[in-house]
């Protein structure tokens, strides 16, 4: 579940980089909301802002872990500060993806309200275990993220069947990469390289989002 020690500095750098990309998407949504005043854009702004904050926290936590020499041996040896940082990252990420799921459900209305309720419930349901080490809780949190991302990917794919353009394909690809990354990280206790691959997929997902954003700005 944890990064191999040699990968910690890279992991921290990747997290900060992805945090900046999420922040860029968030600010773009806010810019649009200020002009158009649509709540959909506000939901995107909030979701990506929370994602960005979570990723920044994770980046800082990983940097601290590197500098403080925290080891992730799988025996619950991580420090309290690192634990709090990782919990904050997971809570922010779960809230962010729950908000995205809510936005999709709100678009579809009716039957999808169930999906929204499920998403919101998942966002709240895992907040009570602070104090456990991430050895035990990490895979569960990753599983929650995987379920939320799965809903997002299904919604994106459903949208693609109705309307397809290069931007929607790019966003779908980025969410698919993020989904794969969290699946890999969930199973990373099996092998260190799985964790590294997961983080690379995550970086790829966010870079794909950045490419979409750049393409939109050029097209505008």
């Amino acid at each position: 579940m944890f990064p191999p020690n040699w990968f910690l500095p890279f992991d921290a750098a990747f997290q900060v980089l992805t945090a900046f990309i999420a922040l860029a998407v968030s600010l773009y949504s806010l810019h649009g909301h200020r002009w158009i005043g649509e709540r959909t854009l506000y939901a995107l702004f909030l979701a990506f802002l929370m994602l960005s904050i979570g990723l920044f926290i994770n980046g800082i936590t990983l940097t601290y872990s590197t500098l403080a020499g925290v080891t992730f041996s799988g025996n619950g040896s991580s420090s309290v500060i690192a634990d709090i940082g990782f919990w904050a990252y997971y809570i922010m990420s779960i809230l962010a993806y729950s908000l995205l799921v809510y936005a999709y459900a709100d678009r579809l209305r009716g039957p999808s309200a169930v999906v929204a309720a499920a998403g919101a419930g998942m966002g709240r349901g895992w907040g009570g275990g602070i104090g456990q080490t991430l050895v035990a809780a990490g895979p569960i949190m990753e599983l929650v993220l995987v379920i939320l991302l799965l809903v997002v990917v299904i919604a994106q794919l459903a949208h693609l069947t109705v309307k397809r353009n290069r931007f929607s394909v790019t966003v779908t690809l980025s969410f698919v990469l993020l989904l794969i990354s969290h699946i890999l990280i969930m199973f990373s206790s099996l092998e260190d390289t799985i964790y590294v691959a997961g983080r690379l997929f995550e970086l790829g997902g966010f870079i794909t989002l950045l490419i979409m954003l750049a393409g939109l700005r050029r097209a505008g």
Binding site: H31, G32, V171, M212
Partner: protein, 93 residues
């Protein structure tokens, strides 16, 4: 077969009105037709757009027309961008 009628947000209604006057000053009847709004609703939206500086009211004798401002043109550009942006996420604005 025509596309089914869908909910239009305030931003989209603003954009529809602005598109109706984009090619030059237009009379209320022309805007009514192009933006597909009732007279009462259009009157309300026109005053909101005027207050926001997105359109200007021009009077020449009895003839009243509305013209898009530079800020209104910018709104349309931003709306198009944001429409594409939200659409990329499979969301409507």
């Amino acid at each position: 077969m025509s596309e089914p009628q869908r909910y239009r947000s305030k931003g989209r209604i603003f954009a529809d009105i602005l598109r109706a006057v984009q090619d030059g000053p237009a009379k209320v009847t022309h805007i009514l037709y192009r933006a597909n709004l009732s007279h009462d609703r259009l009157t309300r939206y026109l005053s909101q757009l005027e207050e926001s500086g997105l359109i200007v009211r021009q009077q020449d004798g009895d003839k009243i027309t509305y013209a898009i401002t530079e800020k209104g043109q910018r709104f349309l550009v931003e709306f198009r961008r944001m429409e594409e942006f939200a659409d990329a996420f499979g969301l409507d604005i």
